[in-house]
Symmetry: C2
Subunit: 461 residues, 2 copies
Amino acid sequence: MNPMKAVLDYLKANRIRNVDELCEYLRFPSVSAQSKHAPDMKACGEWLVRHCQRIGLRADLVTTQGHPLVLATTRNPKSAAKNRKHFVVYGHYDVQPAEPFELWTTPPFEPRLEGSRLFARGASDNKGQNFAHLKAVEAYVKTGTPLPCDLTFVIEGEEEVGSKSLPAFLKARKKELACDAFVVSDTGMPAKGVPALTYGLRGIAAFEVTLHGPSRDLHSGVFGGSIENPAMALCKLIAQLRDGQGRINIPGFYDDVTPLTAYERKQMARLPFKEASYRKMLGVPKLFGERGYTFTEQRSARPTLEINGLTSGYQGEGSKTIVPAWARAKLTIRLAPDQNPKRVMQLVLKHLKRLCPPTVRLEITAGHGAEPYVVSPEGTQAQAALRALRAAFGKEPVLLREGGSIPIVNEFKRILGVDTLLLGLGLPDDNVHSPNEKFELDCFEKGQRMSALLWQELSAA
Amino acid sequence: MNPMKAVLDYLKANRIRNVDELCEYLRFPSVSAQSKHAPDMKACGEWLVRHCQRIGLRADLVTTQGHPLVLATTRNPKSAAKNRKHFVVYGHYDVQPAEPFELWTTPPFEPRLEGSRLFARGASDNKGQNFAHLKAVEAYVKTGTPLPCDLTFVIEGEEEVGSKSLPAFLKARKKELACDAFVVSDTGMPAKGVPALTYGLRGIAAFEVTLHGPSRDLHSGVFGGSIENPAMALCKLIAQLRDGQGRINIPGFYDDVTPLTAYERKQMARLPFKEASYRKMLGVPKLFGERGYTFTEQRSARPTLEINGLTSGYQGEGSKTIVPAWARAKLTIRLAPDQNPKRVMQLVLKHLKRLCPPTVRLEITAGHGAEPYVVSPEGTQAQAALRALRAAFGKEPVLLREGGSIPIVNEFKRILGVDTLLLGLGLPDDNVHSPNEKFELDCFEKGQRMSALLWQELSAA
């Protein structure tokens, strides 16, 4: 551990300077969604390129159809060692809009340190997290400690607006980006000081169901009782899609769901979440989910069918006595590994057609889909990452699954054929996407250490 | 029949003048809903009073909190015969707004005769219908034919805006309006030349059901599966309110429903409605209603529970991945005689409370209610009315029930304790409340004859 001591000492010695530099990074109002900030986006990207160059990386601002992205690497193309491992760190320098400004204690782009908390838009999502990785590389370079692998950084400017240019970039640079794994710090830890590896994400299949009844809204007094009410038919149809135990009632639906292993369930049970406080946080009178699973499993590792919206007939004040012409439900299914959104949509379609009564006309519109993602937490890379987390935080890391999807992870797999290690440094109360976003210096510093140690663990694995 | 010959001959001889006078009546833009037409309302009421006086009635324009109403009578208070029967004819001189004007072939307040159809706003609803009754009285008066009964006319100016002033007027004039029955021509006939007595109306009970889940919309990826989705809970709740046979699934719901008699069902079966054309007119793929009843019975004489509106979560374009905080359904129950709206709402409330799962919070708001109405079609007054219809139209009349409610009929019963004979002269294609409203001269003329004959039949009954 002699070489690593120098790296870790360097990080410790430069604590204050690193925070100062992060503040510089945070001062750019790099809001990708607002066109008035396009010059700030460019300025932020250029600053980041210069910063990468200053710490010893080769770096370029790559133009795209949208906002530019920063590509930086430790590799010297002329003297690249063929058999060294190569990892790509992904992050993003764009941030969510800061509105409503009046809810911020201090302006979102004037970073403010309060105790150990650094307040600014983008502090946690994602500038603080990707900057931690850059600081770790800097420590290697500045202390003359040889990196055990090659590292490339892809820090894009369109994550908050759907990463539209990323797939084309990944395809165009397929050779340069060929690697052993992607590393992303853009997820969360369950609590301060509790390091986490996120190893699974749910997929999604969105669709809309519309039932058409009479050709126009009809007087419910004159016609009601002699024709099907499409809103009633919709309620009856949708009600059949889930049973009383919280199971989805579509034949074949669970066929491709990979059961949780005993190891995974044990790891999930370790998470510091209590049912009572979870219930209270959400404000529901009682929790409800698929029988036989904990709420942690239900919301992260089990599929679910959710109504996102209902629309039919009159929605204004008072009453309007009509049989509505149509009724619509917007639905999304969250998919568990290894369900496939297309196959699931086929099952849904077939089942709805069978259930739909002949008294109404069924219309189904399929929306976006994303595959679920899982990488074995017992695999060598995951275990290496867990060792780095343990050493950096001085605490046993937890294994997480997230209930939402992170589409880029599927792109890395699809285009480059590699897995992603999700080593998030955010905390649940970081106010990500909300006013008064903050990042804990503890997360920033331990994140730098984790990154420094990670390359050792991953290279040796 | 000698005296009646003179009356009917008078009506025939004055055919053209009667249409001319109706056109005069129709030229007033008496739109009660639009305050700019308040002067037109007053002018129309005054014209009508003068007209009543000219044909030999005592008439006054009675001021109310809203628009004035016309009160006219054949009675001479000083020489009133104590044991004569007394009937009150109700009608209204106010009309629906005529917008959108651009959809009218000719201006709505410039009556146009096209063949046997008189086009104008209010032609059928209700000026043409109440004017037919006035012309019948005129025929008695002008031919010196003694009326076999006393007649009073109440022609109000607020029917299209909810008859707000009518109950107070009925209460204030209770003595003057004490009568044997009300006669109203403001409903419809099933087809041209097919006279009809409407003897039953459904009541109504309106309510809203809201289910509250989490305290705010939640990310369906992060939380979906571990809490109840209020929209799903609503679908499941509402779906249970009706069974697969079209019966309402609320304990005790049918307890007070008076079954249709064999006579009524036979009369309903005589109506000239065909299932195929009815289905086509409404544009539904297949009819649906309570098993064991014809669609005519279902829509007019059997109770029904209808969803009038559904609202939950995201309703815009595309998808928004949320578990909505709440979901709401607007519902109305159409009541059959002798259900009571208050008692039914109590049953609904009790049942919903029992069905609602503990994972959501139930909120129910009761809306307006109206009692159903029915007068026996086998009673003496109904049979007398049927004889008058038969003689005037030269065709066997049909017995109708209407699926909607006519609140004033309940007021006549509640305040004055009398039944109403609904002898409508409108046709299904009269475009009532729509552009290009019309009234058939055939209905106008036969309506006058029916009215003239009605007083004979009712007085002798």
